[in-house]
Symmetry: D2
C-alpha cells in the first residue's frame, strides 16, 4: 500500500567558531557562531577588530551593513547542513539546479520493500476523490514495479553476481516509478547559497512543493543565524501556502 | 498512446578561435579550434609562442603533454554545447549532478498533448512481454494524468488567471508521471568538464542509460577536438552496451 | 629600463552556433551566434520554437525579456574568451576573485629579460614627477631582482638540474617585484559570468584599473552580443575615467 | 623598518554535527564531527544506518572505503575555516586559483602604518647577505610608497571626501609594494576542496611557500578529521622543506 510521506527538514551540522590567538576581539554575547564568523571575516579584510566605526560596532549592525552593501562573499564562511526527508523526486530535480550546494541523495537502487512512499501534491492531497485516484495509481505502479523487477531478475539469471543482477534489475524497473516517489537529501551550503536558494524558491512564483521546502529551511536557519535572515518576511498567500521575500534579493 | 523516444545528441555550439594581433604564432593546420585554444592558453602562461621545446612543437604533442602532466585547467578555455533529446527524467536527475555544466531543461509545465513520450530502459525494450507491460503502464499513467489535470482545473475554477490555473494544475498532476518520461536538455561545458563527465559516466559501473549518453557525447566531441579525447578507448561489454575509459582518469 | 605597459584586451574565442536537425526554427537574421544560442536554450525549455508569443517573437525582444525576468541561467550557454595584456599583478589579484571564470595566467617564472614591464596607475602616470619616481623605483627593484637571481643561482650550485635551479631562484627573487609588474591572462567565461564581472567592476566604486578592464570587456563583448549588454550605460566620471551601470544589476 | 612576517595558520571554524531525530544510528565514539557527518551522508544514500556490511561498520573503515572508491562528494558535507597570516601576496595569488574555496583577503587599502610587513622567501632569509639586501629594498620601497601617498593626496586635494581621497591615493601608491608584502586570508572549504588543495600544493613540484601552507593546513585539519587525511604521508625533501603525498591523489 502506498504510504504518504510528508516534508521533514532537520539541521544536522553547522559551523562552530573560535577566535584565533593573537586577535584582540570578542564577538557579541548574543551573536551565534555563524553570525560571529561572518563578522570576523569582514573585520579581517580591513583589520577593524577594534570596531573603529560606532555605527557597526554590534554584530547585528555589522551584519545588516554587510547585507545592505552586498558583501555577500563574507556569508560563505559559515555553513549549514540539513537532512531532508519527504520530498518528491520532482522537487528533488529542481533542488539539484542549485549548483552551489553539495548534495547526497537517496539512491533509487534503494527502494522501500513492500510499500511505496509517495509525496502527494497539496492540491491532490486535499481533495478526497483525487487523493484516492492518486494513491490507487501509486499502488498499481508499485505492483508493476515489483512485476518488472521479478521478470528482469529472471532474464538476468545468467549474471553470476547477485548484487549486480539486482542492481541492473532495479535500475530498469525504477523507470515506472512516479515523480511523486519520496526522495531524501543531505544538503550542505554556505549562508550565501542558502539565501540565494530561499530568495529563488520561497518566492510566490516557485512551485508549491519546493516553495514549502524553502520556507521551512528559512525557518530552520533563522534559528541558527537570526540576523542573516531577518530581512526575509514570511507571509501567507490566498491559497493558504507560505511564501517569503526580502527587499535585498531580486 | 505512449510513444518511445530514443537518445539523440547534437552539437549545437562550440568555441571558434582567432589568434590575436601581436602574437607571432599560427596554430597547426590540422588543429581544430578547440585544440588551438588550449595550446594558445598554455603557451600564454610561459610566453612560448616560439615553440622552444621541439618535443611539444606540434599541437598534438603539446596537448598530449598537457593531459599527461594534468594541466587540465587549460581545457577550460574551449567549450561545447549539446542538445539532448530522448533522455529519461531518471537519467536527467543524474546528469544534473555534474555541477560544472550549465543546464537548460525542458519544463514539465510543458507536456506533449495527447501522447506520452517515454524512454524505455534497454532491458525492458528488448523483452517483448516487458515492453508491452511497460507501455501499457505508461498509457494508464497518462490517462490518470489527464484525469487529474481536468479535475484540478475544475477545482481551481476560482483562479481568474487561466495561465496560472493551468500551471498549478500541471505542477500537481505531473506527480503521477513516471521516471521514464522523456526530458530534453541544452548542456554547455568546457572540455575539462566534458572529460570529467565522460570519465565518471562512460565507466562500466555507471547506469546503462547515462553511460550511453556519455559514450555518445565522447563520440560527438571527439569530432570537434580529437586530440583532447584520444586517450579514451571505447569498448563493448558482454551485454552489448558500450563503455569508455582512459588511463588518465580514475 | 622599466617599460610602461598599457591595457590591451582582445577577443580570441567565442561560441559559434548551428540549429540542430529536427528543430523547426531559424534565428533572426540580425542575431549574433551568442544571441541565437541564448534564445535557442530558452525556447528549448518550453518547446516554443514556433514563437507562440508575438511580444517575444524577435531575438531582441526575447533576450530583453530574459534579462527582465532574470532567467540569467540561459546566458551560460554562450561563452567568450579574451586575452588580456598590460594588466598589473595587483589588478590580476582582484580579477582572480571572479571564480566563475576560467583563468590561465602568465607565470612569474617567466620574466622579460633585461627590462621590467610595469603598469602605471593613472594617477601616477599623469604626474610627470611621480611618473619619474615610480619608473626609477621600478628600475631599482629590477636591478635588485637581477642581483638576487644571480646570487641565488650561485647558492644553488649544488642542484644539478639547471632548469630546477633557475626555477627555484626565480621563485625566490620575484618576491621583490612590485604590484605594478605586468601580467597577462587568458580568461574564459559565459555571458552570465561576464555580466556579473562587469556589474561588479565597471561600477563607480571599483578600483580604477580593474574598472578600466571591465569597461573595455563590455565594449568588446557588446560587439559580439549587443542585445545581451544594451542595458549597460557607459558614462564618464569627473576624473575622466569611464564607468558602466545597468538597472538590471545591483 | 621592514618587519619579517612568518606563516601562521589557525583553525577558526568547523562543522559540528548532531544525529537528527528519527535516524536510528549513533556515530562511533572515536569519530570526530567531520568524520561522523561524512559517514552519515554516505549511509543516507543507501539507508544503511543499520551497518549491514561488517567490513565498513566502523567509522574508520567506512571513510577509508569512501576514499578508496572515490566517493569524494560525501566529503563536501563537512567544512573547515582557517585564518592565515604571514603569507606573501605572491603566494596569495596562487591560493586564489583554488576556486572551490571561499576567500576574504586583507585589503591593500589597509596598510600597516610606519612599517612594512614582508614575507621573506626561505632561500633569501637563510642567507645573511641576501636577507640584508632584501630588507633594505623593502625599506626603500616603503619609503617611496609613503612619498607617493603624500604626493597623491596633495594632487587629490580637490576631492572633498577625505575617505575617498585616501582610498584613491592608496590604490595608486600600492603599485610600488613588492610581492613579498604580507597578506592575510580567511579561507573556508569543504574537506573535498581541502584534500584537492593539499594534493596540488603539498607536492614536491609546488612553489616552496604555498607548499609550506599546504603542509601546515594538512597538519591542522588532520587533528580535526584524522581519518580523512591519513592516506597523506608527510616527508622531508633534501633541502629540509616538507612535502606530502597520497596514493589516492594524482
Amino acid at each position: 500500500m502506498a504510504v504518504e510521506s510528508s516534508l521533514d527538514v532537520q539541521l544536522i551540522a553547522a559551523s562552530q567558531f573560535a577566535v584565533p590567538p593573537g586577535v584582540d576581539w570578542v564577538p557579541d554575547a548574543g551573536a551565534t557562531d555563524a553570525e560571529a564568523i561572518v563578522e570576523f571575516a569582514g573585520r579581517a579584510c580591513y583589520e577593524t577588530f577594534d570596531r573603529p566605526n560606532p555605527h557597526t560596532a554590534t554584530n547585528k549592525a555589522y551584519l545588516h551593513h554587510i547585507i545592505d552593501v552586498g558583501h555577500d562573499a563574507l556569508l560563505e564562511h559559515a555553513t549549514a547542513t540539513v537532512y531532508i526527508r519527504g520530498l518528491s523526486r520532482a522537487a528533488g530535480n529542481e533542488l539539484l539546479r542549485h549548483r552551489n550546494f553539495s548534495f547526497s541523495q537517496l539512491s533509487q537502487r534503494f527502494v522501500h520493500e513492500g510499500s511505496s512512499e509517495v509525496v502527494l501534491p497539496a492540491l491532490i492531497a486535499e481533495d478526497e476523490e483525487l487523493r484516492r485516484i492518486f494513491l490507487r495509481a501509486a499502488d498499481e505502479t508499485r505492483f508493476i514495479y515489483d512485476e518488472l523487477l521479478r521478470a528482469l531478475e529472471e532474464n538476468l539469471a545468467g549474471e553470476p553476481n547477485s548484487l549486480l543482477r539486482r542492481k541492473k534489475a532495479r535500475q530498469a524497473a525504477r523507470a515506472v516509478l512516479p515523480n511523486a516517489t519520496e526522495t531524501r537529501f543531505v544538503v550542505t551550503g554556505n549562508y550565501r547559497a542558502w539565501r540565494q536558494f530561499i530568495a529563488a524558491r520561497a518566492s510566490e512564483h516557485a512551485d508549491v512543493e519546493i516553495r514549502s521546502l524553502a520556507v521551512t529551511c528559512l525557518e530552520l536557519l533563522r534559528d541558527n543565524a537570526p540576523t542573516l535572515f531577518d530581512d526575509f518576511l514570511i507571509s501567507e498567500l490566498s491559497d493558504g501556502t507560505k511564501m517569503a521575500t526580502s527587499p535585498y534579493v531580486s
